[in-house]
């Protein structure tokens, strides 16, 4: 699953709508930065936690 698909699922928005939201754009940018670094991953942690919680219903 791509970052955009994951964020789309978490926010309950279509991917193209996600891309229109400045807040989502900032999160997507943070996810990209975190994926390319060995440092802390707060955006990834939060988005994945929310995704797992949503999956559990």
């Amino acid at each position: 699953m791509t970052d955009l698909e994951l964020l789309s699922q978490v926010l309950g928005l279509e991917p193209e709508e996600v891309l229109r939201r400045p807040g989502a754009q900032r999160v997507l940018a943070a996810l990209r930065v975190e994926a390319a670094s060995d440092g802390p991953t707060p955006a990834t942690d939060v988005v994945q936690a929310l995704a797992r919680a949503r999956e559990r219903g």
Partner: protein, 319 residues
């Protein structure tokens, strides 16, 4: 007769106005036109409280310039509407004795101070819940505590006479900060998942996130010189900051045990109705304070960005 104006009388402001009028205060609501017209037509507001419905006579107005002077002002607009609302009510200032905001956050007191001067501002925090069923009809959904700083008499006595619990404390800043930090964590785990409160608190991932957000809020509060404490009526934030998820689970189990299994944050309704979300005075304020004080708040930043993405009023113009 104590005169009170409630500025921004939506659900909560209408509930407070009705309770104060019941206790004998001369109350004016500044509210939306439809609500005001319904109140005028009925000669008062309908207050639902449990199985009881009471008709409470009070005045209401939607045109700020028609609001008459009052000795006490209670501010309950949406945070982002405060400055404009107060600016339209400058004619109230000469007769005003004290102003109190029961909005979320801490910045509200600074906004009020900018309007009427800090010497006339008392702190306040409301744990009362209310919903506006329709124009002219308000329901008390939760009889939580109302905290006030000193100097707001006779508000606590009047609310007490109407059956609402009030606490006057010289530690009101600590209460306001605790409510702020709780709002930050609660909005994040419920509005971003659509979960009811107890279910969100009992979810392992969300409980961990809740703890992380509380610890960030605790660090910002400490840097600002405020000690986060366990406050009666709020989740035990000091315990959560120190102990982790177990007090969060306990809070969820306590809600479940007393049958509070349908508690939804009002922000979900704001998302549904495409209204502006009140995150600037909560997450936004915490982030600004964190930046000012040099405290890292990465989880709060991500929460703010995700919540702002849910806010359709913040949609970027199509390119």
């Amino acid at each position: 007769l104590t005169s009170v104006v409630v500025i921004g009388a939506g659900a909560l402001g209408s509930a407070y106005g009705a309770c104060l009028a019941q206790a004998g205060a001369d109350v004016q609501l500044l509210a939306r036109e439809a609500h005001v017209r319904a109140i005028a037509e009925a000669g008062g507001i309908a207050l639902h409280d449990g199985d009881a419905v009471q008709h409470v006579a009070l005045r209401a107005e939607w045109r700020p310039e028609k609001v008459t002077p009052a000795e006490i002002a209670i501010l309950l607009t949406k945070g982002h509407d405060s400055a404009a609302a107060l600016d339209s009510l400058r004619h109230l200032l000469p007769g005003l004795r004290v102003a109190v905001s029961l909005q979320n956050g801490v910045v509200k007191d600074r906004v009020l101070a900018g309007w009427c001067g800090p010497e006339r501002v008392a702190g306040g925090a409301s744990l009362v819940g209310a919903t506006l069923q329709r124009p002219g009809t308000v329901t008390l959904t939760s009889r939580g505590i109302t905290y006030f700083g000193p100097g707001v008499e006779p508000l606590p006595r009047l609310l007490g006479d109407s059956g609402l619990e009030t606490v006057v404390t010289d530690q009101i800043e600590a209460v306001e900060w605790a409510k702020l930090v709780q709002a930050d964590a609660v909005m994040t785990i419920t509005a971003l998942t659509g979960k009811v409160m107890h279910a969100a608190l009992l979810d392992s991932d969300l409980a961990e996130l809740f703890v992380g957000l509380v610890r960030e809020g605790d660090a910002v509060a400490a840097a600002a010189g405020v000690e986060l404490r366990d406050i009666r009526g709020l989740f035990p934030l000091r315990s959560i900051a120190e102990s982790g998820v177990e007090p969060v689970y306990e809070a969820g189990r306590a809600l479940e045990a007393r049958g509070a299994t349908n508690v939804r944050v009002s922000m979900l309704e704001d998302v549904h109705r495409a209204r502006r979300l009140e995150i600037d005075d909560v997450h936004g304020f915490l982030i600004a304070e964190a930046d000012r004080l040099g405290v890292p708040v990465p989880l709060t930043r991500v929460s703010f960005d995700l919540l702002s993405a849910l806010d359709r009023t913040r949609t970027a113009a199509p390119r």
